[in-house]
């Protein structure tokens, strides 16, 4: 079932819809999908989907994007690193909820996801048992780049290693 999702463009479309809608409605961010590169000053928020469709999902973005998002949500220009972290986690939490709801629409089964983790720096998932992956790149007009990474894992838990946030390795 997971491979079938990846075999067509549904997963990419689902991921794109989730990030575009949440960015706009949650933080007023307009993102345009295009090839772009992250700067050296980035933050990462990530989680693991467990159950059906085991996968690792990460959102890497230039720090300025998350700062801009935090300023929008907090309604003030002066935001703390804690504000940035908390806003990024809630933003990503909502994106993940949309992805899970979309997966349910496609397959009638849905994973649950773990509490998102935030890292100042680049922390792309590096996992064993990757079955397929999907990487979407976005540009925010004024504040930098965003990259959404979805790594579908093999269904057999002995082939993959999706359980436990601590099992998500970082590849900077």
């Amino acid at each position: 079932m997971t491979v079938n999702i990846m075999a067509n463009c549904s997963l990419r479309h689902l991921l794109d819809c989730a990030i575009q809608e949440v960015s706009c409605r949650f933080g007023g961010l307009e993102l345009s999908q295009q090839e772009t590169e992250l700067s050296e000053d980035v933050c990462t928020v990530s989680t693991v989907f467990v159950g059906e469709h085991p996968s690792a999902v990460a959102l890497c973005a230039d720090r300025e994007v998350f700062v801009r998002l935090a300023q929008s949500i907090m309604g003030r220009a002066a935001v703390t690193p804690k504000d940035v972290e908390d806003v990024a986690k809630e933003y990503f939490n909502i994106i993940c909820g949309k992805i899970v709801a979309g997966l349910f629409e496609l397959t009638r089964t849905a994973p649950r996801f773990q509490i998102p983790r935030f890292t100042f720096g680049l922390c792309k998932p590096q996992m064993d048992g990757v079955d397929h992956q999907c990487v979407l790149n976005y540009q925010h007009a004024d504040h930098g780049s965003v990259q959404l990474i979805y790594m579908g894992l093999k269904q057999n838990p002995r082939d993959a290693n999706p359980i436990g946030a601590e099992s998500v390795g970082c590849m900077g």
Binding site: F26, D86, V87, K89, G97
Partner: protein, 137 residues
């Protein structure tokens, strides 16, 4: 007299957003809880008129928390506020007896309407249909 609201959400940001929306209304936020265990303990202390409940939280998830809360307090009004909105979770919320389901990201009008519905409908699940009419449904 203000209606007492207890917010259950592990996100400080979601708590702040809800507090801001409810500020200056007929609703008074009397407690904010970061997880299910805290919410179950706090309920007996503050006796809220309505509880907003996130689903994805550390420890007991929001639906399990709501189920335990409703079993202990059948009169409890629970409004689920979550991004984890699809048929299974919406139906489970209905089965538990939740008064509604608001999808994240929410706005002022969605919250206020769901609150009003929760107090105007005694029939469980009426508000869930309202949630299904959200733009992303």
């Amino acid at each position: 007299m203000a209606k007492k609201v207890m917010i259950v959400d592990d996100s400080r940001i979601a708590q702040l957003q809800l507090q801001e929306i409810l500020s200056g209304t007929e609703y008074e936020v009397v407690a904010c809880c970061l997880n299910g265990e805290e919410a179950l303990n706090k309920y007996d202390e503050v006796h809220p008129d309505l509880v907003t409940m996130d689903i994805v939280m550390p420890g007991i998830d929001g639906l399990a928390t709501a189920r335990m809360m409703m079993q202990a307090h059948p009169e409890a009004r629970v409004l689920v506020v979550s991004s984890l909105a699809y048929d299974d979770t919406i139906n489970e919320a209905k089965d538990i007896g939740a008064m509604g389901f608001v999808y994240k990201p929410f706005d002022h009008d969605q919250i206020m309407q769901a609150m009003a519905d929760a107090f105007s409908h005694e029939q469980v699940g009426a508000g869930c249909e309202e949630g299904k009419r959200s733009p992303e449904a």
